[in-house]
């Protein structure tokens, strides 16, 4: 069997799974799985860039995804005029002061002679800067958060079209990745993992607690959409007429249509990124990356700047995760920082990449769809398995109740087992790197 036919078989199998889901349960669920599968595939592409091309281990995907979500709010929500008037400029000024402090400290580090003077100078600049920053910042934040806390209490966004948030999400994630990469790359390989684990937790903490930025755990709901609202479609006579001619129910048809529009947009992004990643993999740059991955010492001896190349690809991969994060928040129509779980947004993506085939873009896409389907389906399947195993037990028996309640946690177990099995028995994944 050639590679091409094998790939056709794999993707045909995925299509069969999704169509089967559509026929067995509902088409609405099937197309939702497709949409999230597309987003997962994009995240997996980003991680594959880092791991498959360069061997960088990033366990902070959740943070970059969340930054993408933040971008959606910052770009698409209308600005809250009152909040800006109350303290918006003060908050911005404080942030500039904070940034200036850090830049000042870096400049001092470079300018002062090595020794106690330098350490002392930096510490003084940082401490003074911190207190000035807090002095300006706290008042501004209080003023902003006091403005209509039930509905606003934040600065709002720029009121631009939501599609613009996608690239901006990528830029935000790239910025965070640059800071992390700058410190942790070039050291031993697991430091990057630990640093990314940390930055993800911190980004989520910021999103949860900085109410002036994106309302924190009060969530931003009702984000603008790139697709029409279902209710408007149902009111539109031309739409209803066309649907009835096709023999469909207008309500179902409108939800399906909206989701199809999203699917179209996501597919376009996935295709563009996939083609770019494919071109990169087969370019001299991609070959250099793999050479570095396979033998850093040899690559360095050939005059390649390993740390700089690693930084480059780490930033690129994280940017792709940021784009996917912005797309996901757009699809949800709301930013809910409480829902970001490392399991769902970091480790699941890893399972996708490993199962699909690290180092192969097509494999990442395949893994994205397959594992997402599994993730959605494990819960009902787990419940079903539990019901069968417990069917012999008496009603109200504690073990039965416990097993039924715990079925939801089957996901973790399944993903762990899948990851370990693939790493052990098929470390190259379903579609191995060529």
């Amino acid at each position: 069997m050639t590679d091409t036919t094998r790939n056709f078989v794999y993707f045909g199998f995925i299509a069969a799974l999704i169509i089967g889901t559509g026929m067995m349960t509902s088409w609405n669920l099937a197309i939702t799985i497709v949409n999230f599968g597309l987003i997962s595939a994009i995240m997996a592409l980003g991680v594959n860039l880092q791991w498959g091309f360069a061997g960088l281990f990033n366990v902070g995907i959740m943070g970059f995804v969340a930054l993408g979500g933040l971008a959606t709010v910052l770009i698409s929500m209308p600005p809250v005029g009152e909040a800006w008037a109350a303290g918006g400029l003060r908050v911005i000024l404080a942030l500039i002061l904070g940034a200036a402090t850090i830049v000042g400290a870096i400049l001092a580090y470079n300018a002062l002679p090595k020794g106690y003077v330098r350490a002392l100078g930096m510490i003084v600049i940082l401490i003074a800067g911190f207190f000035i920053y807090r002095g300006v910042f706290d008042g501004g934040v209080q003023a902003v958060e006091a403005v209509n806390p039930a509905n606003a209490g934040y600065l709002g966004g720029l009121g631009l079209p939501v599609l613009m948030a996608w690239p901006v999400g990528g830029v935000l994630a790239a910025g965070a990745a640059w800071i992390i990469g700058k410190t942790a790359l070039g050291l031993r390989s697991d430091y990057l993992a630990i640093a990314t684990l940390g930055i993800a937790e911190i980004i989520i903490a910021v999103l949860k607690n900085e109410d002036w930025l994106a309302r924190g755990v009060k969530n931003v709901v009702g984000l603008p959409r790139p697709a029409p609202y279902e209710i408007n479609l149902q009111k539109s006579e031309t739409f209803v007429e066309r649907v009835i001619n096709l023999g469909l129910d207008p309500v179902t048809a409108s939800t399906l249509w909206v989701k199809t529009i999203y699917a179209g947009l996501f597919t376009a992004v996935l295709l563009i990124l996939f083609l770019l990643a494919q071109r990169a993999l087969h370019s001299p740059w991609g070959r250099m990356m793999r050479a570095i991955r396979d033998n850093e010492v040899a690559a360095e001896a050939m005059g390649k700047d390993v740390t700089a190349r690693h930084l480059q690809i780490f930033v690129l991969g994280s940017a792709i995760c940021g784009i996917a994060g912005a797309m996901m928040t757009t699809l949800d129509g709301q930013l809910t920082p409480g829902t970001y779980q490392p399991l769902r947004f970091t480790f699941l993506i890893w399972v996708m990449v490993i199962v699909g085939g690290s180092g192969n873009n097509l494999g990442a896409v395949l893994g994205g769809f397959l594992i997402w389907w599994l993730w959605v389906m494990v819960e009902p399947i787990g419940l079903w398995v539990m019901q069968i195993t417990t069917s012999g037990m008496a009603e109200g028996f504690w073990l039965r109740e416990h097993l039924l309640d715990s079925a939801a946690h089957m996901r973790l177990l399944t993903m762990g087992v899948v990851l370990l099995l693939v790493l052990r028995f098929s470390p190259r994944g379903l579609i191995p790197e060529r």
């Binding site: 061997g55 031993r188 390989s189 697991d190 993992a193 630990i194 715990s406 177990l413 990851l419 790493l423």
Partner: protein
């Protein structure tokens, strides 16, 4: 008098909690650093190993409580601890047999080990949630305080009170005993010495006839014990929640790296550094400053540098600073 009050407040809210938390972190970081020294990878499953051992201990504690066995004024969990360690050790040894040994024989890259430990983390986390559920569990019983605020005030006549929880006292004492035993073992016994030799230079150790599988097994046993003790102490002091234990991974790693990965002494120093910074930076200093400073200088606000929600940011920033300026840690650990 005011200064004394300030000091009491400081001890009550900063020093004592930070010492207890630091001991818990140090025990956790010791486990990470031992795995790093002997098996040469960063074990991402460590937080969940702690959770697993604690879960086993909690279940046995419940059984003891149901059977009416108690340790008097001390928490029943102390009696259950050895059994919890045994269960955790069995599980950890089983994962080593089933998972890690294969990669050791393959001489896989450290990063593969890290990834595998991620898979193990998933499974442990899943098991813990499956068995005991994702919610908060409190299992501390016995006497709550060594000295309570009211007793302290009555004793000294000061305006501010000092409370020392039994669990805090217990944490520090247990940590000291465990660390003393560990260092005695590493420095004085034959097995401990062979472990250090293996950690220093694997090839040389193999040449001198040290059995690597035995070293690895002993390491896992010690790590299981350390993780369970750390987890149970943390759970007694605060409460047991699987997700919190996963999140502890970050301060624990930070402690191990700040001290110097692979260096047991460093892990302890790192644990206390992280714990003190975390508590000091997230504590609201208003009360202490109100006592210690003249009235004119007393702050209006809470005088809190960062809100407690950012405690992870503290360990992270310290981690970044260490990585930037001294990647081998305070006590030179391994950099490769």
């Amino acid at each position: 008098m005011d200064l004394l009050n300030a000091f009491i407040t400081l001890s009550n809210f900063v020093l004592i909690p930070a010492i207890a938390y630091g001991s818990q972190l140090a025990l956790g970081a010791l486990g990470v650093t031992l795995i790093y020294g002997i098996l040469r990878f960063s074990n991402f499953a460590h937080g969940d190993t702690m959770a697993f051992g604690t879960m086993a201990t909690i279940l046995i504690t419940w059984a003891f409580q149901a059977a009416g066995i108690s340790a008097g004024p001390l928490p029943t969990a102390l009696l259950a601890l050895p059994f919890g360690i045994a269960v955790c050790a069995l599980f950890v040894l089983a994962t080593d047999r089933g998972v890690y040994r294969f990669y050791r024989e393959q001489k896989a890259k450290p990063i593969i080990f890290v990834m595998v430990s991620l898979g193990v983390m998933f499974i442990m986390n899943g098991l813990v949630r499956f068995i005991i559920g994702p919610n908060d569990q409190r299992f501390a019983d016995g006497e709550r305080f060594i000295i309570s605020v009211r007793e302290f005030k009555a004793l000294t006549g000061l305006k501010e009170g000092l409370a020392i929880k039994t669990t805090q006292g217990l944490t520090v004492i247990t940590a000291i005993i465990v660390v003393a035993l560990l260092f005695y073992f590493l420095n004085r016994t034959r097995t401990g010495k062979s472990m250090r030799a293996y950690s220093d230079n694997e090839d040389l150790a193999l040449l001198s006839g040290i059995n690597p599988e035995r070293v690895v097994m002993v390491t896992w046993l010690i790590v299981a014990a350390l993780a369970t003790v750390a987890g149970v102490l943390y759970g007694l002091d605060k409460s047991f929640k699987p997700f919190v234990y996963f999140q502890l991974l970050l301060p624990i790693f930070a402690s191990a790296i700040v001290g110097g990965l692979g260096n047991p002494l460093g892990a302890i120093a790192g644990g206390f550094t992280i714990a003190f910074s975390e508590v000091i930076i997230t504590y609201a200093w208003k009360k202490v400053a109100g006592y210690a400073l003249p009235d004119a200088l007393a702050p209006d606000g809470l005088a809190q540098l960062l809100s407690t929600d950012y405690k992870f940011a503290v360990s992270f920033v310290i981690l970044l600073i260490v990585l930037l300026f001294r990647p081998t840690g305070l006590f030179a650990g391994k950099s490769v």
